[in-house]
Assembly symmetry: D2
Homo-oligomer: 370 residues x 4
Amino acid sequence: MPGNSFGTLFRVTTWGESHGRAIGAVIDGCPPGIPLSAEMIQKDLERRRPGKGGATSPRKEPDRVEIMSGTFRPDGCEHDLTTGTPISLVIFNRDARSTSYDHIRDVFRPGHGDLTYQAKYGIRDYRGGGRASARETAARVAAGAVAARLLSLHSIDVVAYTVALGGIEAGSRDLRVIGENRLFCPDNEAAARMEERIAEVRARGDTLGGIVEIRAVCPPGLGEPVFDKLDAELARALMSIGAVKGVEIGAGFRAAAMLGSENNDPISPAGFMGNNAGGILAGISNGEHLVVRVAVKPIPSIHKEQKTVNSANEPVTIRVGGRHDISAIPRIVPVCEAMVRLTLADHLLRQLAIAGSRERQPQERGGDAA
Amino acid sequence: MPGNSFGTLFRVTTWGESHGRAIGAVIDGCPPGIPLSAEMIQKDLERRRPGKGGATSPRKEPDRVEIMSGTFRPDGCEHDLTTGTPISLVIFNRDARSTSYDHIRDVFRPGHGDLTYQAKYGIRDYRGGGRASARETAARVAAGAVAARLLSLHSIDVVAYTVALGGIEAGSRDLRVIGENRLFCPDNEAAARMEERIAEVRARGDTLGGIVEIRAVCPPGLGEPVFDKLDAELARALMSIGAVKGVEIGAGFRAAAMLGSENNDPISPAGFMGNNAGGILAGISNGEHLVVRVAVKPIPSIHKEQKTVNSANEPVTIRVGGRHDISAIPRIVPVCEAMVRLTLADHLLRQLAIAGSRERQPQERGGDAA
Amino acid sequence: MPGNSFGTLFRVTTWGESHGRAIGAVIDGCPPGIPLSAEMIQKDLERRRPGKGGATSPRKEPDRVEIMSGTFRPDGCEHDLTTGTPISLVIFNRDARSTSYDHIRDVFRPGHGDLTYQAKYGIRDYRGGGRASARETAARVAAGAVAARLLSLHSIDVVAYTVALGGIEAGSRDLRVIGENRLFCPDNEAAARMEERIAEVRARGDTLGGIVEIRAVCPPGLGEPVFDKLDAELARALMSIGAVKGVEIGAGFRAAAMLGSENNDPISPAGFMGNNAGGILAGISNGEHLVVRVAVKPIPSIHKEQKTVNSANEPVTIRVGGRHDISAIPRIVPVCEAMVRLTLADHLLRQLAIAGSRERQPQERGGDAA
Amino acid sequence: MPGNSFGTLFRVTTWGESHGRAIGAVIDGCPPGIPLSAEMIQKDLERRRPGKGGATSPRKEPDRVEIMSGTFRPDGCEHDLTTGTPISLVIFNRDARSTSYDHIRDVFRPGHGDLTYQAKYGIRDYRGGGRASARETAARVAAGAVAARLLSLHSIDVVAYTVALGGIEAGSRDLRVIGENRLFCPDNEAAARMEERIAEVRARGDTLGGIVEIRAVCPPGLGEPVFDKLDAELARALMSIGAVKGVEIGAGFRAAAMLGSENNDPISPAGFMGNNAGGILAGISNGEHLVVRVAVKPIPSIHKEQKTVNSANEPVTIRVGGRHDISAIPRIVPVCEAMVRLTLADHLLRQLAIAGSRERQPQERGGDAA
């Protein structure tokens, strides 16, 4: 399969370039009968808008999503409902200024995909990064909002938040305060210091990275051994976000230095007595919270002079101008939520197929000890 | 798709339980005309044999791989060659002692998949972990050896090595000494201290985790935006190994605390002047070494008493006996190599389809500035 | 995978309902560097427009396709070129009159998917057949036009034509006259009689079926044993068109009554001395013309009274009014072309991956006797 | 994906060559808890054994299937049960005589895949047709027997039978007598005449084709619009059998000459009042019997002299010796059953995922008019 689709049963295909006419997503496999409106999706899109956080540029980008297909309002029903057919979402590009990108036409920006797209395809849409632009993630967020509607019917809930930015770490995990600061940080005090760090780095024309943590309430049984383990699928989902350079589950890299007796989560009749596993054992969810962390690299578009080459492979320097975010955080936070939602929606449907077939089986099997 | 296959064009399906009759792999999509023999595969299998490293148990497991299909020796040819049809590899299980596992029939071992398999399927083969056993990875190594034959024709080379074990880190990366110690460590002195740590922890009935790094020589252009980015696919591939709890590319989690000006790799006419990107930009290989690290959790089978529940959800304690490795390292090292090889073989073929179609295109395109 | 995508490497996803806002297709995997414009696609769309043939209704439906993504015009290039990223095509619905479909809201039309969509999804967009409308095939034709651009670079050419309609068969196969009659029939005299038959049946409020033949110039080597044989894939592609009830390759059903000595195509140094195989042996193209025929059922929307049930499963009668075609022919002809093109484009890329990998192989293989 | 796998959720991969060590199938996605033994599968394999019908050669081929993985017998259970993990089936080749095929090493047999495999792969296993041998279908039958166990739990039943052979057609469809003659023909009298025709053609060194019909009891709702329509998937499944050159559903090619008023199946509260649709409307099963027919070409291995070329493209003649069947019928009959079962098992699971998700939906939807 080509690379612009995600999922096996709940399958999303995104399309569009940063400065093309539009971007969009087609969701194939969403079950029928789920209330869905553009407004529901719009709410999630607003969370990744620039201008919301101090780390983001003031560029105006009023993403308006339109539902082109896949919903219908039966007579007497108050909502549009999904019909089981593909849901096509389109967001037209409005604020794109192509002219401001002409100077990078023949130069490969460090840290960007300019050089690799050219190497792979022999051609690239250099306007605003083209397909490699973070703008593509708006389509993911829109699709993730549809997944959220399905998941909520099965009591699956996903939340992401900032646990580190520019080297400053959140000291606490008070998820109730996430909405109280612009960085989706579960520690208001740390958030304030992060904002200071952002201001300081902005003044120097530089950029920052950080760490986002995602937590999900998830029933046991999701994940398909052996290659489509739930953690493997989450890793792929999150690593497919451009700025992400690392993914860890539960104790993650800390587990590498632990003893088995420390890392194992004992089990009691009331559930697991620890969550170093991050809610996943042998690739299948165990009923505890899923806990995943991703490393977000600093945004490569900096206002400092950098060494690079042009398309003739001659050495040149470049200073990326224009309005750019200081950090992919916080805009990446809803993107992480979306990717986890899309992963869980897909594995939910995959498990429903198995569970549905088990209902009809003969009673003699005896193996269902639990 | 169900979860036991990996890859789009170079596609591997593994099957088999730890104590069933055999385990195996079917490779579909391997190109024709590649010399291949059981001996070539056997060599890689030997590297993951128990008893090779101090961290592994003395259990004898003389994995002998047999090629059941997909190769043929034309008249006058000195080697068997692949034919383009599926390559079926089988490894019969010989040293399995089912009796020693009966006591865990009704108990869910902490850190293992016992509970989650039961929750998902309502039945499980509890002998030696069944499908969730690390034994399954022998099939991956065998398949990876086939991928290696294809990759070598395209000058792609993969090597993995231990960079941390039990909290002890390799201080250097001298890949020439990897074969000189039993832990595949690029620092002989660190390897010696790791062995001491293993002996100490073994005496206490406990186990250890560590970190494995994988490095690959890879041409530019591999990886498929946007969801099948090369780093996303590598993350999925490696996280699908049971013991892996984290994956990072290049600078990985360190990038989260760096400035953009530090993290960006400048470009010169001779190539990149740094490799924080780990050889991947925007999901496509850039021609530098691919560098990936994985966090390996300590083996959950420890000789200490642990709290858990039985199949009636009653609290019990368990002390896992038998011969077990102290660490998944070093046996996991060739498994990591195999998964990276399978990923690169698949993306090599995917890119060859694109490159093949470009050869016939009209000359007017003009976009191929590089 | 859900069912709205087609192809492995050249992959098309269609979306949209007959009376929704728009219909469209996303093409993922189209190679880069291919000249493409909306006008090129528009030309193919015109061929399936209603009003073009006597068998079609006068309903005006000025399908205008728009390219939303995936093309770019590099400086100095006269054409937009594909970039290797997804090509999103959208056709807005303009002439839809939802009001005229309210009377079938609670009635299941014989021969249509009303009842089965309701059974499967528990909800359906009943306006004009919703997703099951033949309108969906406009998206296929648009996608097929993109495939045609790729195929033409590899000298692959596809043409479809009418060989039977309403029981009247074309006596000759003069492909040069296909454009001279409204039915895409390679026999002008038969076409005239078909038109008479249409007029006669129209007057009676009834409808007609027919047979379409597709012929393709195709190099040897396309098709993937054993399940993705080229004939199997063509059969699926064509049978996925709503009105198609049968597919045959080469001699097809006639072969069932032939002797082996009659059906076998002898081979000479200049090529095959017959084409009962229809250009495919063991699922792989053999270099002769691909020849496929499909049975097209009569359009189920007739002006006669029919027995059926309503949504309460009560017996009712229905007489479908409105403007409807008398036959899916000729509008289905370009749809057949499109589906064959999409199939061949996909298998071309799949074969290029194999061929590309063979170029690098050692010379010792010796098996390449041909 | 490469071509040796079939299905999305119930996914079968076959492997093996006619004269290699073994052939086999891996079934991934079979639900857990289903009783399964080698004996159950063996029974279906016996039906396709040579020597069973007059049309088949006396070559002895005692296919013994072995289950290598994926089943387990929990304590106190009388049967082995599937566990949800891959089921690996292996049939070792015993009666292969490679020597008898050396004379065709450099000659391309008419009607066989010799030339096309060579063109595609540049190498071929010429012993007994290699991968293109009908022997591969034994693996399909074995996999189909597993699918049958799943289908029976959902009251889905599939039967195939011979409706024409050598130009002689069955006059009746008395399915009770299928087991009374060696040709699986529902008309004993026609079967007797078919046997006479076989004897006559055998004496002349020639071979025969025929038509097989498949009928299935199937609930409404299976099939995934728009490309994975149930009829499209059945067409692909059946056309992927080497000898099949045509597939038709319900009235099939006859529908091409019918009026809409004749072809439409009226609906009554008790169900459809006809079955020209063959049990499928708009690609979704409608609850009536599925009815599919396939055209089987005459076996290409004839004892008559045929013109062909050798690997140097020089003209030669060939007379294929050895023991060969006169017709693919009756051995193809259980293969057709297997392919339909595999298709239905896959679509059953796909529909269970949709149905499972509908159970949790809010009651307000109102669209479920039926």
